[in-house]
């Protein structure tokens, strides 16, 4: 099999931003099926903008975004919704939905005009409930859930949408260490077991190094991309933050505060 055909997402010379204001330039990377990729970088560097551009919420400024080899803007919304799902930082508008109702909304691209669920839809919803340990919470309202539980519900909804690419904007914010690790482990399992391509933005660089197959560093210049170990070897993490404040220790893959 040729290498090109395995690429789910190919980004070349991408510029992102708002109108005349460019946020980041010349982003290049490719993602294959089954890869978990973290996007790291300091606040305001353009992580969310990149995600919003890839999700089609805002137009790119320049370059190419290829999904399955096709330009993203060529997809019509209904086809795209079967190939790309998102988990955003914004809360669901109505928290009066039950866990199961919210996850079931992920099946909308597949249901008829009234939204009737087929047997396959129900199986997929059940699989998502199981994968994210939500079975016992299925009839709870979303406003009754903790932050960690709600995050799992939102990711489970994306899984129910059954797309080859899942984009997540900061899925680990507001969570404690245990729940951060839990959600990232679940994402890793989803990517590896079901051959989903998952791209998420995060500030948890140390966790990303341990769990991701690929990391994209947005640094405002070269935007290095690759295997976490290679990125460490090439000392790409060292210049991520001002070195007088924090330093990266390549041996342990962690940051140390300068005292």
């Amino acid at each position: 099999m040729s290498k090109v055909s395995r690429n789910i997402l190919s980004i070349a010379k991408l510029s992102i931003g708002y109108g005349s204001k460019t946020v980041a330039n010349n982003i290049n990377f490719d993602l294959e099926a089954g890869m978990l990729c973290g996007v790291v970088g300091i606040n305001g560097i353009g992580k969310s903008t990149l995600l919003r551009t890839l999700a089609g919420f805002q137009p790119k400024l320049f370059g190419n975004i290829l999904l399955h080899g096709e330009p993203l803007e060529k997809y019509i919304s209904n086809t795209l919704s079967k190939e790309l799902s998102v988990v955003l930082t914004e809360q669901p508008a109505s928290k009066n939905l039950t866990v199961q109702e919210l996850i079931a909304l992920g099946r909308q691209p597949y249901t008829n005009w009234l939204g009737t669920l087929s047997k396959e839809d129900r199986q997929q919803i059940q699989a998502s409930l199981d994968a994210f340990l939500l079975n016992e919470l299925r009839n709870n309202k979303c406003h009754e859930l903790s932050d960690g539980q709600l995050q799992r519900v939102l990711v489970a909804r994306a899984m129910a949408q059954d797309t080859s690419l899942i984009l997540l904007d900061e899925p680990t914010t507001h969570l404690d260490l245990f729940h951060k690790v839990q959600i990232l482990k679940m994402l890793q399992a989803l990517a590896h077991d079901q051959q989903k391509t998952i791209l998420f933005t995060t500030h948890e660089i140390e966790l990303a190094i341990q769990l991701c197959d690929r990391i994209l560093i947005l640094d405002g210049k070269e935007h290095p991309f690759g295997d976490p170990c290679q990125l460490i070897e090439k000392k790409h993490f060292d210049s991520l933050f001002p070195s007088e404040m924090v330093q990266f220790d390549g041996k342990t893959g962690s940051f140390k505060v300068n005292k």
Partner: protein
Amino acid sequence: MHVSKTYRISFIFLVLALLCSWLLNISSGSVSIPFADILSTLFGETPEVTSWEYIIWDYRIPKAFTSILVGAGLSLSGLLMQTLFRNPLAGPFVLGISSGASLGAALLLMGVSLFTGYTSFSFLGDVSLAIAASIGSFLVLLIVMVVAQRVKDTMALLIIGLMFGSITSAIVSVLAYFSSAENLQRFIFWSFGSVGNLSINQLLLLGSIVFVGVLLSIISIKSLNAFLLGENYAQSLGVSLKKSRLTIIIATGLLAGGITAFAGPIAFVGLAVPHLTRQIFDTMEHKVLIPAVMLYGAILMLLCDTLAQLPNSASVLPINAVTSLVGAPVVIWLLVRKRKMMF
């Protein structure tokens, strides 16, 4: 969306309640008619006093059906707006849409004669009143929608709706100042709200408007459900935002505008009924909520109209006042009890 429970019993209960309140509604009025005679007249017999037949068939039954259309339509428009604006306080009255309809009606009832010199209303049919009010509400709805895109803050949106109310009432005052006493009276009576006095043709027209509004709502069920997650999520689920939003706005404009044109501005039904419905139907699925709010709204409107009728007395209270007296405490009660209004 998955409906975990069936709501068959609740629906049966609501349909029965609707039937009872309909019977209650047509058996009360300024002329006291024994219940047995009402029933026999309904089944085609001629009652003891022949004028009763006329009263029942030509006055009370059309009025009862108007109440049903008005209650069901306004409640549905409230539900649509609460979902579209993701705001539990949205409703045709709060967002200034009823004010828009009032302005349209005022411009027609008082403005046309003022600017053109015509004093007779013979050429102004019911259709033009319906169109004027619908256009008024539709325009306000569009403006509110544009503002809602820019202002994400829901409080700001409600304040803008209030401001619209002030602007329209100011324009109405100016019109009223220059208007002739006769035209002014027409407008004042219209603004009290009334579900009586509709001819069969008017009733049919109102019925068709509500029917189209309901139809548009039904084809929007899927996008309404997706909007519960927010617009970005809805878009990622394949919902065409522009098209769905426009469909929902047209449905709301037709429902709120058409009803306001014929029955006058009726407060609180659109806001309160969706919340009352959610007390029984604990779901956000619009497939369930749409028929439920319509039934609930029809029942509430029939009961309010029965109250307005003041049993066995010739006086009729303005229906707008009655719905406010019933609706406002309900909203307060819901807020106090649940601390937080959710949709």
